[in-house]
């Protein structure tokens, strides 16, 4: 396989680490050496030549090739079987409506949340159970990290360079969750967003940090969802009033109460759309009176419509917790869902 990338020789694993750290090619953590063999294995898995064009970053006109994604994926710890997810996520991120440059350069400091659906979750061992939003398993950890390393190395999204985040959040190391499709009666997120049943897919969202909530003192769906809506209203008051793609992460304990009441994801979205709204004048309650102006009576909704809500079944089996994941900044960036177009069930071609 002919690579366009320059290669370097290093005589030890620590020399590899220092080479990558000193060039600013890491996220601060050690990397897996991207050898020719490892990168080749990723490309063979997706059956792409190194110079396969995955897309052009729309603002700065940067060409993103399979070779460069594979190098960064290997560095993140990806095995070849993880690579199709990285390719699809990046394809989704380069869609114009995602506004990748704005989302990754902004002072707002969001991260790219990757949501996995379909059979590939099981093939990869991606878990939507315990610790779902954090280090739940190898697959989600390395896929999320690969997204960030690609941003750092391909778009120069380094802190203080293109990445101008004031604070950022820990999801910028890795932010990937698999939906727990086996332990719910709900339709998977991807099906709600038009992906055929049984197909594997990736949804990307330019997202703030999870806002965890708790309500284990009721079984009534309306009361449980009121807590989620209140957390969204808090985000609208304290952070951004603009509507956009919010994600709700609903673990099993609260999910079972909702399901027992016969609530579908669509029912949840309708309820949340009704309840997650504030008057602009509420900004005065939280120290933002200066920007209320003469629009205090204007009502703002968290989403433009119920279908902007991304409801995800994920989380460990016990605990009356949930999370609201807010959008980076309203509708400036939209969530994008793409099916994984490569042949994930095929063996790589024989040499």
């Amino acid at each position: 396989m002919q690579f366009a990338s320059r290669s370097y020789s290093a005589d030890s694993i620590s020399a590899v680490q220092e080479l990558y750290h000193s060039n600013g090619w890491t996220d601060g953590l050690p990397i897996v050496p991207p050898t020719r063999e490892a990168v080749e294995a990723c490309l063979e898995w997706v059956m792409m030549p190194p110079d396969q064009l995955i897309g052009i970053e729309p603002v700065r006109g940067l060409a993103i090739t399979a070779e460069k994604l594979a190098i960064n994926a290997v560095m993140a710890g990806c095995l070849p079987m993880h690579f199709p997810v990285v390719v699809t996520a990046w394809t989704a991120m380069m869609q114009e409506e995602f506004l990748m440059h704005g989302a990754t350069a902004s002072t707002g400091g969001c991260a790219v949340l990757v949501i996995l659906n379909g059979p590939i979750r099981l093939e990869l061992g991606a878990s939507g159970s315990f610790n779902a939003l954090a280090n739940s398993d190898r697959a989600t950890a390395v896929i999320g990290r690969a997204i960030r390393l690609c941003l750092i190395n391909l778009l120069d999204d380094r802190p203080g360079v293109i990445d101008r985040s004031t604070l950022g959040h820990p999801g910028k190391f890795s932010y990937c969750v698999a939906e727990d499709e086996e332990d719910t009666t709900w339709l998977p997120l991807a099906e709600h967003r038009g992906v055929p049943k049984g197909a594997s897919s990736v949804t990307v969202l330019a997202a703030g940090a999870p806002r965890q909530l708790m309500n284990e003192w009721t079984t009534k769906p309306e009361e449980i969802l009121e807590t989620f809506a209140a957390e969204m209203r808090a985000n609208m008051r304290h952070y951004s009033i603009h509507p956009g793609n919010y994600a709700l992460i609903i673990p099993k304990q609260l999910r079972e109460h909702l399901q027992a009441g016969g609530w579908t994801k669509a029912d949840i979205a309708t309820f949340i759309h009704e309840r997650a709204r504030i008057h602009r004048r509420e900004w005065a309650d939280v120290g933002k009176g200066a920007v209320v102006r003469d629009r205090g009576d204007t009502v703002y909704t968290a989403m433009d419509s119920p279908d902007q809500l991304l409801v995800v079944a994920a989380g460990g089996p016990a605990g009356g917790f949930g999370a609201v994941i807010p959008p980076w900044l309203g509708n400036k960036s939209y969530a994008v869902t793409l099916p994984i177009g490569v042949c994930v069930d095929c063996e790589p071609p024989k040499k």
Partner: protein, 93 residues
């Protein structure tokens, strides 16, 4: 143990824009402002407008604001640039 490892960066610089020729003077010129529309830009551009007109003899200041402060300037704003002698593109939080 020897490792042969690959460069994870593009290795080439992104396509760069080209700066317009510098002006010898601002006197009598038309200057365009492209604001990202954030709160902090208002006072800054108001003050800059005043300085350019009063101290540098600028003839016209054209102020435009992007519709999305996180995205490139709208095409209709970019199209207007040809009619200006210089541009100040500013952002403010």
């Amino acid at each position: 143990m020897m490792f042969e490892v690959l460069d994870p960066t593009p290795g080439t610089a992104p396509p760069a824009g080209q700066l317009a020729p510098r002006l010898d003077t601002l006197e009598g010129k038309t200057i365009g402002f492209i604001s990202n529309g954030k709160e902090g830009t208002k006072g800054f551009f108001r003050h800059l407008d005043q300085i350019l007109r009063e101290e540098y003899g600028v003839a016209n200041v054209v102020s435009r604001t992007k519709s999305n402060y996180s995205a490139p300037a709208d095409p209709h704003i970019v199209a207007e640039i040809k009619g200006w002698d210089a541009v100040v593109s500013g952002l403010g939080d």
